[in-house]
């Protein structure tokens, strides 16, 4: 298929359509409302479900109900809206429901602002809602990558029966870039569903729930979830290296839009004779700990520099990966300020 020029938010919407999303539930919030506007036309023309709910609290719970059918469903929102969805996200993780949630991040805390930020890292990666659970978290750095990761998110949600969150900052949502969609959506085979609610015809009733009043059963469920997260750590680590070489003095760790800005800075520094490499995590959970440790431990690296559009949230995970092996530094802006190279 030929390349077309698309805004990030619309490209994400179309990617979900291509990946077979049968239902989309939403509540308007800047800077991602274009997804809802696009889907309000696109889904009905395909005979699929579009619904604007009364709040993000309701939308998150509509997603729970919709996901219980076993059909592919998703929602998109931005930081304050994602906070309101944490209730349903925790319940979906506990009940092992697959769903895709996109957070086009804006500055916080509170109402914050509407400009791009990466300050929901902890919320996405460390839980957000209550209980022992994790989301599989992916972070694109271009509109094309947002398309690719959006399609992958639906597959991973089904593979692990777990909510998957794709986080992009406002820049990813609002920027226009040339994107290419595959002619045909292809994915690896998935196990047949034996949990979806289709009516108790010719079988015993099924219950989709996160309630286990017996502490032994609740603990069993928590360890079952834990095993899934350990499997994700083995199988779903994704990252990219840029100009990483034995000449590097500094290793930058950055993701999303920030990583892209760092690439330009690295190119400019190269002209000045300063060699810097970039390690870009694509999966934020699972975090590429071993891989960062390996790159940071190389003899030529003198400093590990974490760069974020937040006040050093991911840096805690980088520190955990590097384990004091090298001096650490941080550079960042937040609140909607996007640094220039």
């Amino acid at each position: 298929m030929a390349k077309i020029l698309m805004k990030g938010n619309e490209a994400i919407a179309e990617a979900a359509v291509k990946a077979g999303a049968q239902g989309y539930f939403c509540y308007p919030i800047t800077p991602q409302s274009e997804v809802a506007e696009y889907m309000s036309r696109r889904m009905p023309e395909l005979g699929r479900v579009f619904l604007q709910g009364e709040s993000e609290v309701a939308v998150g719970n509509m997603l729970f109900g919709a996901a219980s059918t076993g059909l592919r469903v998703f929602t998109t929102s931005s930081s304050p809206g994602i906070s309101l969805m944490q209730e349903a996200i925790s319940y979906m993780a506990g009940a092992q429901l697959p769903a895709v949630i996109v957070n086009i991040m804006r500055g916080g805390p509170g109402l914050g602002g509407i400009l791009p930020a990466q300050s929901d890292y902890f919320q996405a990666v460390k839980g957000g809602g209550h209980g022992d659970y994790r989301l599989l978290v992916l972070a694109p750095s271009t509109v094309q990558e947002a398309v690719d990761l959006m399609m992958l998110s639906f597959h991973l949600a089904d593979k692990y029966r777990n909510p998957v969150m794709m986080i992009g900052d406002g820049m990813i949502g609002q920027m226009m870039e040339a994107v290419e969609f595959p002619d045909e959506y292809k994915e690896d085979p998935l196990p047949p569903k034996d949990w979806d609610l289709t009516g108790a015809k010719g079988r015993s009733p099924r219950v989709v729930k996160s309630l286990f009043l017996d502490p032994v059963k609740l603990e069993d469920n928590s360890w079952l979830l834990h095993e899934k997260y350990e499997r994700m750590k083995r199988e779903e680590v994704r990252y990219e290296l840029y100009k990483v070489s034995a000449k590097n003095k500094i290793l930058i760790i950055a993701y999303g839009t920030m990583a892209r800005i760092c690439q330009t800075a690295i190119d400019e520094l190269e002209q000045e004779g300063i060699s810097v490499g970039l390690f870009r995590p694509i999966s934020l959970f699972p975090f590429p700990e071993k891989e960062i440790k390996k790159e940071a431990s190389k003899k030529n690296i003198q400093t590990v520099l974490t760069v974020e559009m937040s006040t050093a949230q991911m840096m805690e995970d980088v520190e955990r990966a590097v384990l004091g092996a090298k001096p650490m530094a941080f550079f960042g802006h937040t609140g909607g300020i996007v640094p220039t190279p």
């Binding site: 479900v49 609290v57 729970f64 609610l197 289709t198 009516g199 108790a200 015809k201």
Partner: protein, 254 residues
Amino acid sequence: MANHSNTIFSRPEALYDTVTHYCPGCTHGVIHRLVAESLDELGVRERTVGVAPVGCSVLAYNYINCDFMEAAHGRAPALATGFKRMRPDMIVFTYQGDGDLASIGMGEIVHAANRGEKITVIFVNNAIYGMTGGQMAPTTLANQITTTSPNGRNVTDTGYPIRIAELLATLQTPGYIERVAVHTPQHIIHAKKVIRRAFKYQVENRCFSLIEVLSTCPTNWGYTPGEAIKWLEDNMRPYFPLGCFKTPDVKEVR
């Protein structure tokens, strides 16, 4: 010799043969049975999904024999909406108490009703939070003593009890809304007809329906089962009048 016995009463297929966890004199069991009988009679048990609430009926799926989802407190109408929109061929009902529906879930029920979701809501009103130990609910009567209104509900501080059926009946969107009670055999017989009608409207894909059922809570009211029935009759019925507040058959019902 031919067997001349006829079965005139039996457990509905949609109800499990199990031991109840509900307190003596609680009417949840009766309401569960009316739901189960309705599913059986309409022949829809095998294409029905129930949504259990948070509250005493959180384990409704241990009694009603169909697929179920377990909702967060108050969010059952949102779950039901999500499911029904994806699978309009299936029958979806929520079963919610007054703390669940009229307090934390007020937003979800109003908007589900206003969108005209083709779901059936069984709203059990016993004027108190049961499972958490008898706290004041939005439906708690004026001067009623609860664990969080130890001197009786003071309406100047906490407002008056909310009449959900009347409130939802003000919406322009067509729907079926009726309040019934299950504290006497006559009332149970009528409640059964009403609950069955609510499911029938869904089978016909006609409208949203909510049936408010006045129910007893002897344990948290501090009465014997017999006293609780009298308390419902003497105190709840005058404030929560029984009757149909909205029907898809007639344009306006007053």
